[in-house]
């Protein structure tokens, strides 16, 4: 199979990359009608599969689960998840031929084998849905021409998809129709109905394309979301220990700090996050992040280039073929880092202290969010897409670090994201070596404001605020956040 994106002429590449339209709620007035009475069969009953299915059924749709024979015979967790909730469960052979809509919610790595097994069984004119476009775009999977191919991608973990739905709300969602597979022109109607069924229409829906979703999703997760949070966490912890800060304190500051700091990001964007600092601290964080942006920009660009050219997916698929040798090795190495092995100390750190004592992370987050956003937009991705895949998801990933550090983050995200995260981390650390030599405990571990009189230069402050607030990620963010004001606070501290 050839990389789909690379088979397209440049004009069409740009065309598909540039799809991003924030949808008006009036577009969802038809509710779930396009899928009403149709038979929906979900393949896979993990966190996304189960929770999306529960929502769709609660929205009056007819949902059942197709699992592999072994999963049923051995009564695996996926089988238990589905049967405990009184869903009909059957093998591919039993259920797929009856389906009007087949929803593939298995891990990326299994897509090729799942689709190869499922496609011949699908009835003429049925619809196939993905929640990530990797298989179609990067692996170039060709779907039978009578089949409609859509994507509905909730931008939250499965448990949140369920929790928000039951509150009467939803999570922000990307939807798309694959232009090569929409023979009956029903793709958008069904994608919208599916989105309504999961509650996504309450929280803001972005009309996207398979190409735009994949190229931005990969970029976001490798760089700001997982890669940089991992690198920043490890470097910060090591620096504090090197400088004599108590290891338990350092571990707690890093584990929870990133969550507290990015919670501010969620509410007020990058400028909202920096507004949590005193004026002198803000100036310092701004200067640090400018420096970090200069140092890291080439790395962000390299990641984007490799994603665009297909180099990234090619390398990763080689590792799949090699039994995940690299992935497993890097995963083990991450587990051995001092940060990972030092339990958070039994110390109280109040909310503001996470900002005042952890300026370095504020700087990392600003640099990472803006770089990822800028690099994506330069590559032809629309600002709306770039926002979702950078700023929007950062607090969600930070929450997984607060739960159980990097181990948890890398467990929750997909293997694809995890693989990209390690690639970034390995390249980023040496890149930052000289910078880290200049770092002292005033920006990580101790209160930056201590012993300072709080005065700043007027003009400088005005200029900094201006730069922060007028960045494109802030402008598009203000618009998109309006649609998600009711998203609940996630807090572990």
């Amino acid at each position: 199979m050839a990389n789909y994106f690379n088979t397209l002429p440049l004009r069409e590449q740009l065309n598909q990359l540039g799809v991003a339209e924030f949808m008006d709620s009036a577009e969802f007035a038809d509710g779930v009608n396009a899928l009403k009475g149709k038979k929906i069969v979900i393949v896979g009953a993990g966190a996304q599969g189960l929770n999306q299915g529960l929502n769709l059924r609660d929205s009056s749709l007819d949902v059942s689960y197709a699992l592999r024979k072994e999963a049923i015979e051995q009564k695996r967790d996926s089988w238990k998840n589905a049967t405990d909730n009184n869903f009909t469960v059957g093998t591919y052979d039993e259920l797929i031929p009856t389906a009007d809509l087949v929803i593939n919610l298995t891990p990326d790595k299994q897509h090729t084998s799942v689709i190869n097994a499922v496609m011949p069984l699908m009835k003429q004119g049925a619809t196939l849905s993905y929640s990530h476009g990797f298989n179609i775009v990067e692996e170039g999977m060709q779907i039978r021409k009578d089949i409609t191919v859509i994507m509905v991608a909730p931008k939250c973990p499965g448990s949140e998809v369920r929790a928000e739905y039951l509150r009467g709300f939803g999570v922000p969602t990307l939807i798309a129709v694959h232009p090569e597979n929409d023979p009956q022109d029903k793709g958008w109607a069904e994608a919208k109905a599916y989105c309504v069924g999961t509650g996504g229409h309450h929280a803001g829906v972005l009309k996207s394309s398979f190409v735009a979703e994949v190229k931005s999703d990969l970029m976001g997760e490798q760089t700001i979301l997982c890669g940089l949070l991992q690198t920043g966490s490890i470097l910060s912890f090591d620096k504090m220990v090197e400088k004599g800060i108590d290891a338990g304190y350092a571990s707690k500051l890093v584990q929870y700090g990133v969550e507290v700091i990015t919670e501010a990001l969620k509410h007020g964007g990058v400028s909202g996050m920096l507004d949590r600092l005193s004026n002198p601290a803000k100036v310092k964080a701004f200067e640090l992040s400018e420096e970090l942006k200069d140092i890291m920009r080439p790395l962000f660009q390299k990641h984007q280039d490799d994603i665009m050219s297909g180099e990234f997916s090619k390398t990763m698929m080689e590792d799949w073929a090699n039994g995940d040798a690299n992935l497993l090795k890097w995963r083990a190495e991450t587990g051995e880092t001092a940060f990972e092995k030092t339990p958070a100390g039994d110390v109280k750190i109040n909310e503001q202290e996470y900002f005042d004592n952890y300026l370095l992370m504020v700087a990392f987050v600003r640099a990472g969010v803006e770089l990822a956003f800028e690099t994506m937009v330069e590559a032809g991705i629309k600002p709306e897409s770039a926002y979702y895949e950078s700023l929007h998801e950062t607090p969600l990933i930070a929450n997984t670090i607060a739960r159980k550090k990097l181990f948890e983050m890398n467990r929750v995200i997909s293997d694809t994201a995890e693989y990209g995260c390690y690639l970034f981390d390995q390249a980023c650390k040496p890149l930052l070596a000289d910078f880290m030599k200049t770092v002292d405990t005033d920006i990580v571990g101790k209160n930056f404001n201590e012993g300072k009189d709080g005065s700043v230069d007027n003009t400088k402050l005005v200029q900094i605020n201006d730069v922060l607030r007028n960045h494109q990620v802030e402008i598009v963010g203000r618009k998109l956040r309006k649609a998600m004001t009711a998203m609940k606070t996630i807090k572990t501290v």
Binding site: V32, K36, G37, L50, L54, R57, D58, S59, S60, D77, K80, N81, D84, N85, N86, F87, R162, A163, L166, R167, G168, F169, H202, A402, R403, K404, E408, A486, K488, I490, K491, T492, V493
Partner: protein, 488 residues
């Protein structure tokens, strides 16, 4: 003379725009066991927390322990609001999560929680084995915390606190959500602790108390006043019954004869059977009382009726004339139901104002997200007026006294004038007068054609419109009775 156990000298606690305790002086001598009662919002919880050292008091509160006692020299405060976290330290639960936790082991089991506590406090599990049994709490030990009902959470909270046998034990609303038998067990246990040297401060307006209670106090204008008996406690101003808004006097349209019909329902979590062969038919307009001890399956049964339970599919269960899973969404179901329960209150959006809380009733959401139409706004205003909530409509729900919060949630429950009202222990935390007022409103609503399911433990605290009763025990229907005479 021995030193007082608690000595408070000139304690003032002030929140923005609200002077709660005003130069308060109080001494509690050895052997004195107090009830603190009085009006809601008078500062009962604040004084309790001040004594327990949970708020800053600037050294105006002095607690002296008795070295000759073998009991731990500490004050334990059991709050009126339970709080637990999942294994990852997260506190983001939603009220239906009990039925949605699936295979995940998100929270500790009761047993693990108790063992963890024993280790931390250096306690011996055998000391409470009998208590756990007396409380009817034996069977839930393998349950996860998330699976517990509100009454069971209360018991867990009490077991932990009483187990410690602190020299001074303060319990804020000890009886909230407890069934009848458990109250007796609790009172006996408290009396035994007093014999062993524990001193008690209980905050309650309940009248069934431990025998060892010998002092009564209430708070007036931020100061403590000692009184002779509970009869002397200040009472909240009697609420004036207003005329029910016109939109609630309309009889809701019903194009079905039965509200719910359950036939031989079993609900299981793994090996644990929560409901066993339950059958129940509710006709339009009937007023039902649902009773049963804590943990008997009441909330699970209700969750089947209000669309919250994923296992409702695939059973012989009809709601509003339609078989479950025949093309209705949970929002179609919820649209016909007004519901209030301890769990909904517990998990309600922390940031919702009173106005938003009521508005969310139109959409059955927890918190409010959607623009409200003009007619709906008028109804909200009418209910704010009816429940005397106009002056607090822009305040956050959670900043109000419990009684007001309940009224706001009741307003949310009835705002869309639904054909079915499900009131699961709606009067938890209200005193007798507030309960009477609340139930009078329910009676009046019931008069206008609504179907009612009411959960309450105490016969003296029920609306008088009740005409049928279903009793659950260990997940089984123990009795279905008609009540011809009024129960009140």
């Amino acid at each position: 003379m021995t030193e007082p156990v608690v000595h408070i000298d000139n304690l003032t606690i002030q929140y923005p725009n609200n002077l709660v305790l005003n130069s308060l002086d109080w001494s509690i001598q050895q052997g004195e066991n107090y009830i603190i009662g009085g009006t809601s919002g008078s500062g009962k919880t604040t004084i309790a927390k001040a004594i327990a050292g949970l708020i800053f008091t600037d050294n105006t509160v002095k607690v002296t322990f008795d070295d000759s006692k073998s009991l731990p020299a500490k004050v334990t405060y059991i709050s009126n609001w339970y709080q637990f976290t999942n294994l990852e330290g997260d506190r983001n639960f939603y009220y239906q999560q009990r039925y949605n936790h699936h295979q995940g082991h998100d929270t500790l089991t009761v047993k693990a929680e108790l063992e963890h506590f024993a280790k931390k406090e250096n306690l011996d599990f055998s000391d409470i084995q009998q208590r756990v049994q007396d409380f009817g709490f034996e069977d839930v030990q393998s349950s996860q915390l998330i699976e517990l009902s509100s009454g069971e959470h209360k018991k867990l909270q009490l077991v932990r606190g009483l187990w410690e046998k602190p020299q001074l034990l303060i319990i804020d609303e000890p009886y909230t959500g407890l069934d009848k038998n458990s109250r007796v067990v609790l009172n006996n246990w408290l009396d035994e602790l007093v014999q062993e040297g524990v001193q008690l401060i209980l905050i309650t307006n309940d009248t069934l108390l431990p025998q060892s209670i010998n002092r009564y106090a209430h708070l007036v204008d931020g100061k403590i006043e000692i009184v002779d008996s509970q009869a002397d406690f200040a009472k909240d101003k009697k609420r004036q019954q207003k005329e029910l808004p016109a939109f609630l006097r309309a009889i809701p349209e019903t194009n079905f004869d039965t509200v719910a019909e359950l036939n031989n329902i079993f609900i299981r979590y793994g090996d644990k059977v929560v409901l066993k062969d339950v059958s129940w038919k509710i006709n339009v307009g009937e007023k039902w009382l649902l009773q049963g001890p804590n943990g008997s399956g009441k909330s699970t049964l209700l969750s089947l009726i209000n669309g919250d339970h994923p296992q409702a599919y695939g059973h012989n269960l009809s709601l509003f004339g339609n078989k479950r899973g025949s093309g209705e969404s949970i929002w179609d179901i919820k649209q016909k139901i007004g519901i209030i329960s301890p769990e909904i209150h517990w998990y309600f959006d922390q940031n919702a104002t009173v106005w938003h809380t009521i508005a969310s009733g139109f959409y059955d959401s927890i918190g409010w997200f959607i623009d409200v139409k003009f007619q709906e706004k008028t109804q909200i205003e009418e209910l704010l007026e009816f429940f005397d909530l106009m002056d607090v409509k822009n305040k956050n729900l959670h900043t109000l006294p419990l009684g007001k919060q309940r009224l706001a949630l009741l307003a949310r429950t009835i705002i869309k004038n639904p054909p079915l009202l499900v009131l699961d222990e709606p009067c938890q935390g209200l005193d007798n007068d507030q309960t009477k007022y609340f139930n009078d409103v329910v009676d009046e609503l019931a008069h206008y054609g609504k179907t009612l399911i009411y959960v309450g433990h105490y016969v003296s605290q029920l609306p008088s419109c009740i005409e049928h009763k279903i009793v659950l025990e260990k997940g089984e229907v123990k009795a279905i009775e008609n009540i011809l005479e009024t129960v009140a």
